[in-house]
Amino acid sequence: MTVMSYLGAIGAAQREAMDADERVIIIGEDVEANVYGTTGGGKSRSDKGDFLQRYGKNRIRNTPISEEGIVGAAAGAAMTGLRPIVDLSYSSFLYMAMDQFVNQVAKNRYMFGGQASMPVVFRSAMFYGLNTGAHHSDRPYPMFMNVPGLKIIAPATPSDAKGLLRSAVDSDDPILSFEACLLWSAKEDVDENEFWIPLGVARTAREGTDVTVVAISSSVPEAVAAAEELAQEGVSVEVIDPRTLVPLDRDAILRSVAKTGRLVVAEPAHRTCGAAAEISALVAEEIFDSLKAPIIRVTAPDMQIPFSPSLEKQMYPTKATIAAAIRRVVDLPALQPVAAAV
């Protein structure tokens, strides 16, 4: 075990994957100079060695600022023997390549009757919460959950970032990895040996018996903090981090809610058609009878992200807003309507 930051763990996984398989390449804007911190040296960013020196220009490639061309080329490369890791830097830039994601990356295996293999990972950072304004603060993973054919991971801890990325690179399905910048500096003990966390398996971040909080990405540490606060008041909160959004570990979520009878879902994305909406619907459809209180979603509102720090801070789930939602589900009698929490 060694202490790694979230970014350092991603760098470690990329290094392991590059060492393990010659067919793995990294392409993206500014990857050669390690601008985003996962292809270089330095303790807090990517540990040990510079990727460009180590793997050379053939396998570490700066691209032009051409997201549509990059994503399409990565798909074509994946279909013909490479296993690209594409660093798209900000997740807001994925929109530039929407056609390639939806029409090529997601559909080619199916549409061509299984002839196309699509071993490619698209990494992007969600820069929300950093006062970058509306064009850089997106949390777009729910849009892509609506595209069959893609798999989606959203690791919340350094260990998960490392283990999930290894599985993603080894997968023959296309995978989008959404990494929250608010988590970049999170540190924990991580196994420095190779390990793989399977896709589609949730992690129980904290065990509890009264309320289940399903939390996503940077909402996970907020939910754990809220759970600790509520523990002081005698409420036992279980925090489930799905880690993979497609495929979703439905069983883990249903098992937990069947046990606790109460569900809060917290995520930084917009409210409408978000992951929280999907998880809420899943629970309502499958185990409605186990619910002792209405489900509460804690999400970002359906609006743009304002620039001013005094406004932006209020937009995403926090320890306080998650704790308030938990208090509501434990206080209320069963199945009385509640106002939606933002």
Partner: protein, 327 residues
């Protein structure tokens, strides 16, 4: 012009005849309801398709567009699974999941067609990137129309291919119309000249109904790509005889009267037949090629007719590598 062996010349004519016979039959089958949806034929464009596909090697890659039955046929795909795919049968080359707009035959390097205009261009570019990184000597070619030539992703791809010296050929099939829109009304300048802006050769094949002219131009581009000298843009001037898609009846005459007749006089198959006769091919041999193509299409239709439709139980297959991930 390269001296081509008798067998190569013969094969060129046979493949053009195959495409013609295949698309003529497909057109009829659409009208009779034997093929669901519609198809876009390459009738009239066979020289451009075969000249390009035969300039590629067996292991080389290509991507196509919506008008792409001819591309896999030109690259050597057997007709049965292609026809069965058009009919939506389980034995189709894509197991009935793709249809006319999404034929792909990876066995001959056909990485698939795209119903989204321009969208498959970067796929071939990525295949060229693979070849470059893996250093396996393969080249890649993207077929696209004059309409697709106005999609931004083409220029992102040309820039990337140029700066990385990818073994890539951008092949514009300029049939002078994008659906009802004449190319000159929506295209600034000359498509092939756009290559200059990316520092790559841009070649226009004016005699695009001459299979040898296309073959020579594309062969040169392939040789350059294989030698590590980077990409080429080849624009081939051609013409489609049929409507944009089969069954489509546009109310307006977007093509000049007499234009089609003028192009029919330069029919690629008839032109090449004259050439082959001048090279000592007998009438018997040339008629035999025609008969072979028709018989192959008959056999393909029989194969398709005898094939079952896919069962609902396979609907989710190939969405992901594992069945469990498909909800």
């Amino acid at each position: 012009m390269a001296e081509l062996a008798h067998d190569t010349l013969r094969e060129m004519q046979l493949r053009m005849l195959r495409i013609r016979a295949f698309d003529e039959r497909a057109s009829k089958m659409v009208k009779r309801g034997h093929i669901p949806g519609t198809v876009h034929t390459s009738i009239g464009q066979e020289a451009q398709v075969v000249g390009a596909t035969m300039a590629l090697g067996a292991g080389d890659y290509m991507s196509g567009n919506h008008r792409s039955h001819g591309h896999p046929i030109g690259k050597g795909s057997p007709l049965g699974p292609l026809m069965a795919e058009l009919a939506g049968k389980a034995t189709g080359v894509c197991k009935g999941k793709g249809g006319s707009l999404h034929l792909a035959d990876f066995a001959v390097g056909s990485l698939g067609e795209s119903g989204i205009v321009g969208s498959s261009i970067p796929i071939a570019n990525g295949a060229a990137l693979s070849s470059k990184v893996l250093n396996n000597g393969k080249v890649a070619l993207a077929f696209f129309g004059d309409g697709a030539a106005n999609q931004g992703v083409l220029y992102e791809s040309m820039n990337m291919a140029g700066v990385w010296d990818l073994p890539m050929i951008f092949l514009c099939e300029n049939n002078q119309y994008a659906l009802s829109t004449p190319a000159h009304t929506v295209t600034s300048g000359v498509i092939s000249q756009r290559a200059a802006g990316f520092g790559m050769p841009g070649i226009r094949v004016e005699e695009g109904q001459d299979v040898l002219a296309v073959y020579d131009a594309v062969s040169e581009a392939v040789a350059r790509a294989r030698a590590g000298d980077g990409p080429t843009l080849v624009e081939v001037m051609t013409y489609r005889y049929n409507e944009h898609s089969e069954g489509l009846r546009l109310g307006t005459d977007y093509r000049d009267a007499g234009e089609r007749e003028a192009w029919l006089k330069k029919d690629p198959i008839i032109l090449f037949r004259h050439y082959l006769a001048s090279q000592g091919f007998s009438d018997d041999e040339l008629d035999g090629l025609q008969a072979t193509a028709l018989a192959e299409v008959d056999a393909a239709v029989a194969f398709s007719d005898a094939s079952p439709y896919p069962d609902l139980s396979v609907a989710f297959d190939d969405l992901y590598t594992d069945k469990e991930s498909a909800a």
